[in-house]
Symmetry: C2
DNA sequence: AGGGGCGATGTTCACGTGAACATGCCGCGT
DNA sequence: ACGCGGCATGTTCACGTGAACATCGCCCCT
């Protein structure tokens, strides 16, 4: 029964059972194997196939084996569209983000994808190339049309305000890099605490004050890091230098570094991310300002490369994987309990990693 | 007609038309708006709604307006699962990859997502955390169960061999970072040409030979870069040093650098990626070997940071965005023409970017 | 031995959409 | 004036799945 080359025979038969077929006998393989095809081959009803497919109890061993054999033979795959239609759920989480290239977001997305997969959810990605209100709106509209049960948004929240109305009700939202804890669930690194640790470290080394190269003002993470930097300095009664505006790029850090190299009393800089810190290091190197002997530098993120900068960079480590994990946890809790009501903010601790780019100020 | 708060009134009515509702009057918003709901409100048949929704001709202006108004009022979104079921297509491309964190893959994915979105396709991501045959197989199995029309695979092909049988027929495949041009469509940076350019550049500067810090042997990209390096040296009749094995990480580059710093006649190194080049730079710096005066270093990738290394790194630029674009183009061509038969390899040119980490050897 | 119950399997139907076909109306030509 | 054609819209049905209900047979208990 199963020795006489059934595969070549059965497939065309099942395929021929459909109407279309385009009349080509040996041409295209065959469109798709459905439960009915499997049921016919196994000599059972399609409902029994369904039960086997879903691991329901109540199917006797021999029947189950027959069905499984038929599935293997035909290469049956459940049709997720039909399933989604039947269940009203898609087992898919949408992720809306700006650049995947930016530090952290790719690692966060990776963690989201990994944990979602472990829970049987797939990830659908929608990137926004240019951060305009229209594009954000469009992304949400598209997401609303897509088969998603929840959406994770990785971006500055203020572009979000009018956008979520585009999502169908019942689609849950969790946001990263924002402070909209009153409207959505928020997961984020504890930016403020990380930044405080960085600045305090420099003050404890004996620096009189700490300069700051900030991220772009449009970023909440950048705002919070700058805010924490200012707060620590003020609390310690230190002068607060004018922060230099960066845009996360190494180039902006380099530009800032050239300026800071001219400030004779600048002995410590807190850069809002590692890339800008890299730019600082190069600028100071070019200007003959030794790090850490003349100037200490602290970054933020702890990219894998930071340990191999010249000198190895003292920086604030972000646990992006944990952020991603908690995002998934958050939306899944909402999906499963239907509870949309407790947004709140979930902060993932950051920790300072001390390497060789910080030292006490030169004792003149 | 549209001034007296229709939204609050209509939605519950449409919702009440369903069976479940869980009896909670003011509780959950409502499940989902279907064509039937819109049709009822607009006073037309659901088919007319369908025609409007799909932009078909043959609907008179006034009717169309009524339907559109009803859609807006109810917040109607087409159900993509039902659509997918009806059409047999999903307008979704699956992407299977290893680490998103690795240089390039995140930028490739981003380009894939952007171009797919422009074509009306969504991206479903499945990451593989540990590169075992089982995990790869599992990823393909899951992809087969998901609603995808095509799959783009970003990984070393040799784990792939037995895996694609898990995909339903009719699902098209394009592969990145591989040489399986005879079985699948392949898109990749022209690794060999890029590496040749790097090595020739160093030879043209007058270096007697070039050392190599390779990527992991499991990577085809690494293999091709190493192969091209060897070929150029042999063609020029130069001695071929034993390559040092790296694993893409800055740390492995650092380790290799400490060894190379002890080689008195090593004046030029080609690192298989920028991160390892960073490790080299730090090792040479620590050992007092000046770059480029004592040793020239070339990397590969041209990460955004490479221009801000100390010194700015000469490296081979990869156009990941173009790779992503061509991947999408490739699978869409397959989907649209149904033509699976012309795999072939599509190579994206790489180009050398000369910065300050290379110079003629010191004239002793 | 007969009936009741339970376990295995089959049948029916709805999920939301859109193609194919059906209907019905209006205008134009003879 | 009558009929026919074309266009706007309605009706039916299938896509693949799985819950709910129906059926059938077997075993156990009295």
């Amino acid at each position: 029964m199963d020795l006489n080359g059934p595969e070549q025979q059965v497939a065309p038969v099942a395929g021929g059972a459909r109407r279309g077929g385009s009349g080509v006998p040996g041409g295209r393989r065959k469109q798709r194997v459905s439960m009915a095809d499997v049921a016919k081959l196994a000599g059972v009803s399609s409902q029994t196939v369904s039960r086997v497919s879903n691991g329901h109890t109540g199917v006797i061993g021999s029947t189950r084996e027959q069905v499984l054999a038929a599935m293997r033979e035909l290469g049956y795959r459940p049709n997720s569209a039909a399933r989604a239609l039947r269940y009203g759920r898609f087992n898919t989480i949408g992720v809306i983000l700006f650049s995947l290239s930016s530090t952290g977001s790719s690692r966060t997305v990776e963690a989201i994808a990994t944990h979602a997969a472990a829970e049987g959810y797939a990830i659908t990605l929608i990137p926004i190339d240019v951060a305009t209100q229209d594009n954000v709106l469009g992304a949400f509209t598209r997401m609303g049309e897509l088969a998603v049960d929840a959406v994770i948004v990785i971006m500055e929240i203020h572009l979000l305000d009018t956008a979520t109305v585009q999502l169908p009700p019942g689609v849950h939202v969790v946001v990263v890099d924002s402070d909209a804890g009153d409207r959505y669930g928020v997961v984020d690194t504890d930016q403020a605490d990380g930044a405080r640790g960085a600045v305090r470290h420099l003050l404890e080394l004996g620096h009189r004050t700490v300069w700051h190269v900030s991220g772009p003002g449009s970023s909440y993470a950048a705002q919070r890091r700058a805010q924490a930097w200012r707060t620590v300095l003020e609390a310690a009664g230190r002068p607060v230098p004018v922060p230099l505006d960066g845009d996360w790029s190494a180039e902006s850090g380099y530009t800032a570094g050239l300026r800071l190299a001219e400030e004779p009393d600048c002995t410590a800089v807190f850069a809002a991310n590692d890339q800008m810190a890299l730019g600082l290091l190069r600028a100071f190197h070019e200007r003959g300002r030794s790090v850490p002997a003349d100037i200490s530098v602290v970054g933020f993120d702890d990219t894998p490369d930071a340990a191999f900068f010249i000198p190895p960079l003292t920086t604030v480590h972000q646990d992006f994987a944990e952020v991603g994990r908690r995002c998934v946890e958050g939306v899944l809790r909402q999906i499963r309990t239907g509870d949309d009501s407790r947004p709140g903010t979930d902060l993932v601790p950051a920790r300072l990693v001390v390497r060789d780019s910080t030292a006490p100020p030169r004792t003149t």
